[in-house]
């Protein structure tokens, strides 16, 4: 009982960054830009948010600073892949290494490393927070609750708004979108920046609300898991949310099992999230589901009137 309660209570700290980062990547990739730079953008968001938190101490502003920093860094990526049409895989990887170096450097020079900060207090959603077993799921910081409306907003935008339809058109068939008068370059630029802002928010969550400090390379590979989650979810936000929750549940369970003194082979336990990813990927491939969900023009630069 105790184990389940505290396990569920710790799930959001793992799941929310995955969910927000995956949502950001989906937004970018639905416009046809392959985004592999999430690991770097997480770090950019994390560092900027800690800096703002140390300077002003207003958590809302810190989260916005994380979003803004990641969006700003992504302009570099957008110029490379959309305007200069550099290979998107290489540009994405470069972005990761660039951000790792830059954030380590700035964090050290500005002496933001290891400075503990105050996060947000937990907010109990009464009466849900009094429920047995799952009560602690409803005793979280505000950002956890805000994740749901953010998902609704992005899904509504992509599925129900004209602008979202155009964005998806740009990602499926930019030639046709261009012929229909949609500004392809502008849409892709905006999608890269908006997606990066969400990834930056995920980074800010890790730094300001979860660990409450900055440590170089603290994203610890979570950006790569978000990239895998997007493929796993076949570019559908809701499936990405389910995937993020699944990962969050597994990762939160690992320390709980150890703390409860349950003797399992430890390296097997540490492997499970990745084994699950592999398993689901293979299942998706074999079952033939969702083969056509990938945005049609993903990873392809657009040049007007270029023959294919």
């Amino acid at each position: 009982m105790e184990l389940i309660t505290s396990w569920l209570g710790n799930v959001p700290d793992f799941a929310v960054p995955y969910a927000l980062a995956a949502l950001g990547l989906i937004l970018t990739e639905r416009a046809g830009v392959l985004a592999l730079g999430a690991e770097g953008l997480l770090l950019a968001g994390a560092l900027a948010s800690i800096g703002m938190q140390l300077a002003l101490g207003v958590t809302g502003l810190s989260l916005l600073a994380g979003m803004a920093a990641a969006a700003l860094v992504s302009v570099l990526f957008a110029v490379m892949v959309i305007i200069l049409r550099i290979n998107q895989v290489i540009a994405g990887l470069t972005l990761v290494f660039f951000c790792q170096g830059l954030t380590s450097l700035l964090g050290t020079l500005l002496e933001w490393t290891n400075q503990p900060i105050q996060g947000l207090p937990a907010l109990a959603l009464w009466p849900l927070s009094e429920l047995p077993l799952i009560g602690r799921l409803f005793n979280q910081n505000l950002m956890v609750y805000l994740t749901a409306p953010i998902f609704f907003a992005v899904v509504w935008y992509l599925q129900r708004s004209t602008s979202g339809l155009r964005l998806r058109a740009v990602g499926e068939n930019p030639q046709a979108a261009d012929a229909a008068g949609i500004p392809v370059i502008a849409y892709r630029f905006a999608a890269v920046m908006a997606g990066a802002a969400l990834v930056g928010l995920a980074g800010a969550y890790i730094a300001v609300l979860s660990t409450k400090m900055w440590i170089a390379d603290m994203s610890g590979g979570r950006g790569w898991i978000a990239v895998a989650l997007v493929i796993f979810a076949r570019w559908s936000p809701w499936k990405a949310l389910v995937g993020a929750l699944l990962f969050g549940c597994i990762e939160a369970l690992i320390p709980q099992l150890a703390a409860a003194g349950i003797r399992l082979p430890q390296y097997f336990v540490l492997m499970t999230p990745y084994a699950v990813t592999l398993g689901v990927m293979i299942w998706v491939a074999l079952s033939g589901r969702g083969q056509n969900d990938q945005p049609g023009a993903l990873g392809e630069p657009y040049v007007r009137e270029e023959r294919r």
Binding site: E2, S6, G107, T108, A216, A252, P255, L257, G261, P265
Partner: protein, 364 residues
């Protein structure tokens, strides 16, 4: 047949000659050519709050002791392609004493030491040694034993938690010593260990510390590189013991005791020996006790009575006076005898430690 014998005899004679030559070479120590010039390669940023910062703090003390500036470079990762250019640039600029700070520098330092026989190499937590190369590390089981005593004294529930990186010799001996120290103060104390699988992942360390506290642990020890477990302990209103440096800097209301590095106490005399000439590195590396300057403990401001502190300091004195903590009779938690009465673990057995004492709770 005789022919073969002749060959064998000749081989033996030649081997003996080589051996003699080797012994002669080993007997005259290493002497610097020219004025000493020291350079350091840091594994991480100099203000990382832990491992590297402890070296940087030692550097400042060494500079004032030896009266010379020490050049350094930060964030040299554990790969040959990064270590060699950094070291060779220092050597090209005239450095003739190079100090490394990572386990992963071991092989590169061995190659560098052979390539530059006129340069002295020292490497913290390394494993390679030679004519002009010495690895050094502290006996952290001593300091963590004392931290365990502090934890045992401060705990009300007798349930201690420990956040560690990976289960191998260096970490296992701290875990066992922590529990043995805790039992010294509270014979019923247990230590539940969570291995995060990473040295530097604050997200996993936080989750581990939270889980331990949820399960009733009221003192959290640690052998990871960030102060996260201490900060969580402070947030949750329990105590903790630190590693690398005095972590009460980050969690003044939680950290009762820290196992700290005192590299300058080893490096200053060792560097003086190198400068004096005829330096002979320890053949299997320097592995320092508290008295030789590897590590020590620092009390925080909370959690411990004067009586407990006096007991801990008495145990510290006993260690300085030569008490070996892994002295027999000692059995592991399955009841198998690991150290027979009257003997104690050798250094090689310490490095290979893959068992836990009674009271340590881990995954397999």
């Amino acid at each position: 047949m005789i022919d073969r014998w002749m060959h064998k005899a000749a081989g033996l004679v030649a081997g003996g000659l080589l051996l003699a030559a080797g012994l002669a070479q080993a007997e005259d120590g290493f002497t610097l050519k020219g004025e000493p010039k020291i350079a350091m390669l840091y594994f991480d940023a100099k203000n990382d709050g832990g491992w590297t910062q402890a070296f940087d703090e030692a550097r400042i003390k060494i500079e004032s002791e030896l009266g010379q500036k020490i050049q350094f470079v930060e964030k040299v990762p554990e790969s040959a392609s990064a270590i060699k250019p950094a070291a060779e640039r220092f050597i090209a600029r005239g450095a003739n004493i190079v100090i490394g700070t990572a386990f992963g520098y071991s092989d590169s330092f061995k190659e560098l030491a052979e390539k530059y026989p006129d340069v002295a190499f020292l490497n913290g937590s390394g494993t390679t040694n030679g004519h002009n190369l010495e690895s050094f590390y502290g006996r952290t089981y001593e300091t963590h034993y004392l931290c365990g005593m502090a934890a045992g004294a401060a705990s009300k529930s007798g349930k201690l938690g420990f956040v560690a990186a990976n289960p191998f010799g260096v970490v296992n001996w701290t875990v066992n010593a922590f529990e043995m120290g805790a039992r010294e103060m509270n014979p019923k104390a247990t230590t539940t260990v969570i291995f995060t699988g990473a040295w530097n992942d604050p997200v996993k360390e936080r989750a581990a510390a939270m889980a331990l506290i949820d399960q009733g642990a009221d003192v959290i020890g640690q052998h990871v590189d960030t102060p996260t477990p201490q900060i969580v302990a402070q947030e949750r209103g329990v105590y903790g013991t630190g590693h690398h440096r005095d972590l009460s800097q980050f969690a003044p209301e939680a950290t009762i005791c820290s196992a700290i590095w005192t590299w300058e106490r080893f490096l200053v005399p060792e560097l003086k020996k190198i400068i004096a000439g005829n330096w002979k590195p320890a053949p299997y590396g320097a592995f320092m006790t508290i008295s030789e300057g590897g590590g020590d403990i620092a009390f925080g401001k909370v959690g411990l009575s004067e009586e407990a502190k006096a007991k801990i300091m008495a145990a510290r004195q006993a260690i300085i006076d030569g008490k070996h903590l892994y002295a027999g009779p000692l059995s592991d938690r399955e009841g198998k005898e690991r150290v027979p009465a009257g003997s104690s673990l050798s250094d090689a057995e310490l490095w290979q430690m893959d068992w836990y004492v009674d009271g340590v709770i881990t995954q397999k």
